[in-house]
């Protein structure tokens, strides 16, 4: 069974959002998503300072089996990108919720956080 940590928020597109409480959230893909994708070969991630509207494509993830787009779970501006994934993309598979985070976003509208999926709702989705 895929791991769904209780302290994170989720999207139906299998991203997780870690609310750090300081207006910045950390975004990555879930354990379920990495399992479905299989071995990640590389990622295309945005530059620091890029702004996204909610649901905008912020990057792509190339796995051996398929390519997937990454969607901004919230509107915001990229404050940090996990550059370690450039050389070590497999971390997304081995530690999706930890070292495998992808971007940090400065949230534009904190009210949007309340519309994200809670862990039990996401668990129900991946059944």
């Amino acid at each position: 069974m895929a791991n769904v940590p209780g302290d994170l928020l989720y999207t139906a597109e299998h991203e997780y959002i870690r609310d750090r409480g300081d207006g910045i959230v950390e975004v990555g893909i879930t354990d379920y998503a990495q399992g479905e994708l299989g071995d990640v070969v590389y990622l295309e991630l945005p530059k620091v300072g890029t702004s996204f509207a909610r649901h905008d494509v912020f990057g792509t993830i190339e796995a051996v089996k398929a390519v997937s787009e990454l969607f901004a779970p919230l509107a915001g501006e990229v404050t940090e990108v996990n550059t370690r994934l450039d050389g070590e993309p497999a971390i997304v598979n081995s530690d999706p919720f930890g070292e495998g985070w992808m971007i940090r976003l400065k949230v534009k509208d904190p009210d949007e956080l309340a519309t994200l999926l809670k862990p039990d709702a996401y668990s129900a989705q991946i059944g």
């Binding site: 299989g38 071995d39 590389y42 792509t60 190339e62 051996v64 089996k65 390519v67 598979n93």
Partner: protein, 363 residues
Amino acid sequence: MSQRTPLHDVHVALGAKMVPFAGFEMPVQYPAGITAEHKSVRENVGLFDVSHMGEFMIRGPQAIDFANYVTTNDVAALAVGQAQYSTILNQGGTIVDDCLVYRFPDHLMMVVNASNKDKDLAHISAYMGRFDCSIEDVSDRIALLALQGPRAQEVMARFTDVNLDDIAYYHFQVATVAGVPGVILSRTGYTGEDGFELYFDASRAVEMWNALMSEGSVTPAGLGARDTLRLEMGMALYGNDIDDGTTPYEAGLGWLVKLKKGDFVGKEALERQKAAGIPRKLIGFTMPDRAFPRHGYPVSYNGAASGEVRSGTMSPTLGIAIGTAYLPLAAAKEGTEFEVEIRGKRLPAVVQKMPFYKNASHR
């Protein structure tokens, strides 16, 4: 309703990800993942269940004449105990399927792609009337395992009394393996590594799998690794590199066509194409930038569209993007530059001679 191989429950118990493929539920990967499985086969030894493949037995006084008429390679040139790679064409000279033909003392076995099996059987049966022979589809009764990797012989030697050095590449013997009698033990494969393919009674499949796996260092490998392994070797995949819109000459499979052997289905069309000139050729390419070419991505040469990527991956062994595409004949030589369009961006690609991976252990 998709079919299952006799090893379905074994794969599920191993944690395989099962996907629909050619009407079967097949393991695309095990928990180790495609990259690790690929590496195991290149460096050690892996075991594939490819029982979905189709097998036809062709019997009768004119079995060889018939097989020669419906395939392009020369079946009459096969010695007993030898196998050959070949193609089945339609009258237009394009490829209905690629196949293996095995010669036994009194019959032939034809091995075809699962996705084409019914089509192949209908196609070749239509030409049977003029030959004194019979054809039987035995696919459901035969399990097929492929043990592949530089250590394949060392592992196989523990399960059979056959002197494996006596079985050369593309040759076979009928032997007892792991206590299972009547196994067709064939030194063939789809990975470029040394190895064996074992055709045997489907009811013994679990027993055979467990015996080979009991050796300890054998890695179960799925269709995902099978695809990356074969592409590194430039081996064609039906539905990607070859299909009923391509001729063997275009696909670089002219070596499978023996025009001098006598008449065969598609011969006239091939002779016409040869006389008129081959318009395009399947080439291998690499990409200098970080990119992941995939089947179906648009290809352009000199600004003009030139079909699409036929096969593509990030080579697990070489760490670079590799793929195949059809280019106009004049462009189909090493070093030619063209472009692959990936999500709206045109990225450079360079024609490279296949195989991409040159240190494989097959012999």
